[in-house]
Amino acid sequence: MNSGEPISKPDLYVLARIIKVLKERQKLNRTALATATGLSYDRLIRYLEWMEGKEFVQFDAEGDITLTKKGAKTYDDLVKWILQYVGKVRFPKI
């Protein structure tokens, strides 16, 4: 499944999109996931490789992708992490 340059620092937006789609749809093949996330196939594969290495996703025998518990937790942690900062901002009525 090697498709060029590996990802060194992933774009959090892309990562979040992939995880969100997998959370909602449970199991998808690569083409359907690329369509659902709006990513090019090559870019998706590079992200999936990176995510597989981090144990965020796993592939079954048919090549379908599912989100692992670690992947789901990472997404929740990411949302919590951002909320930790945005949540503290008070917005005066302007």
């Binding site: 979040a16 981090k54 997404y75 992490w81 909320l83 945005v86 949540g87 901002v89 005066p92 302007i94």
Partner: protein
């Protein structure tokens, strides 16, 4: 949790949209000044024509021409200011807001994308400009109100002095002072509102500076 995030992001983006609108007020101040200055110049021309017309005997103070010129002075002045205000309002209404809404509909990923795309330095600059704009706007409003009231009161004073023969210079001074008091009085709520808005923008600037600083320093570990 995700809904909390999108709700907070919606508040942030709405506040930034509002700042964008305020920035447009500052940008349209030049238009406002030009339109107002033109109307003042035209009104002054009518006023001079009325004064010199009477002085040089081109027409009688009590015939229709002098009255018409006096009326035109007020109409041009008030009309110019109203049009300038309308023009600023039109520009502000045309500011594109809420363009972030489709992105935020994606939920947390959309919130992340919006945060990534925010240009904080520009935002801080916009807030500073908006603060300045409000101060200028408030003062301009008082000045223009004073100008209109002063013109109207001085017309009335001129009319009064021609009937009861009071020294015109005393009346002019009294009317000018009175018009300052009236202008501040009728704009007091607006001035208070602008003052509060400047304070709130200041508070927003500090909040966002803190957020930018903390968020930039932090790094999400995957």
């Amino acid at each position: 949790m995700e809904q909390n995030l999108t709700a907070k992001m919606e508040m942030l983006m709405t506040a930034l949209d509002q700042v964008r609108k305020y920035k447009e007020i500052v940008a349209s101040m030049a238009d406002f000044a030009v339109i107002t200055a033109l109307s003042i110049a035209t009104a002054l021309a009518f006023l001079m024509l009325a004064k010199f017309g009477v002085l040089f005997g081109w027409f009688n103070p009590w015939d229709g021409i002098a009255g018409l010129l006096a009326l035109l002075t007020v109409i041009v002045l008030v009309g110019g200011v109203v049009f300038a205000g309308f023009w600023v309002n039109r520009r502000v209404r045309h500011v594109k807001v809420g363009q972030w809404k489709p992105t935020l509909e994606e939920g947390a990923p959309g919130a992340i994308k919006l945060l990534q795309e925010l240009n904080w330095e520009n935002i801080f600059k916009d807030i500073r400009r908006a603060k300045m704009g409000f101060t200028i706007y408030g003062l301009t409003r008082v000045f223009i109100s004073w100008l209109i009231i002063a013109v109207v009161l001085n017309f009335a004073a001129g009319f009064l002095s021609s009937i009861v023969h009071v020294a015109e210079i005393n009346l002019t001074l009294t009317m000018d002072l009175l018009s300052v008091v009236i202008a501040v009085f009728i704009n007091r709520k607006d001035l208070q509102k602008r003052y509060e808005q400047v304070g709130n923008l200041d508070a927003l600037l500090w909040e966002l500076r803190w957020f930018d600083n903390e968020f930039r320093r932090a790094d999400f570990e995957t």
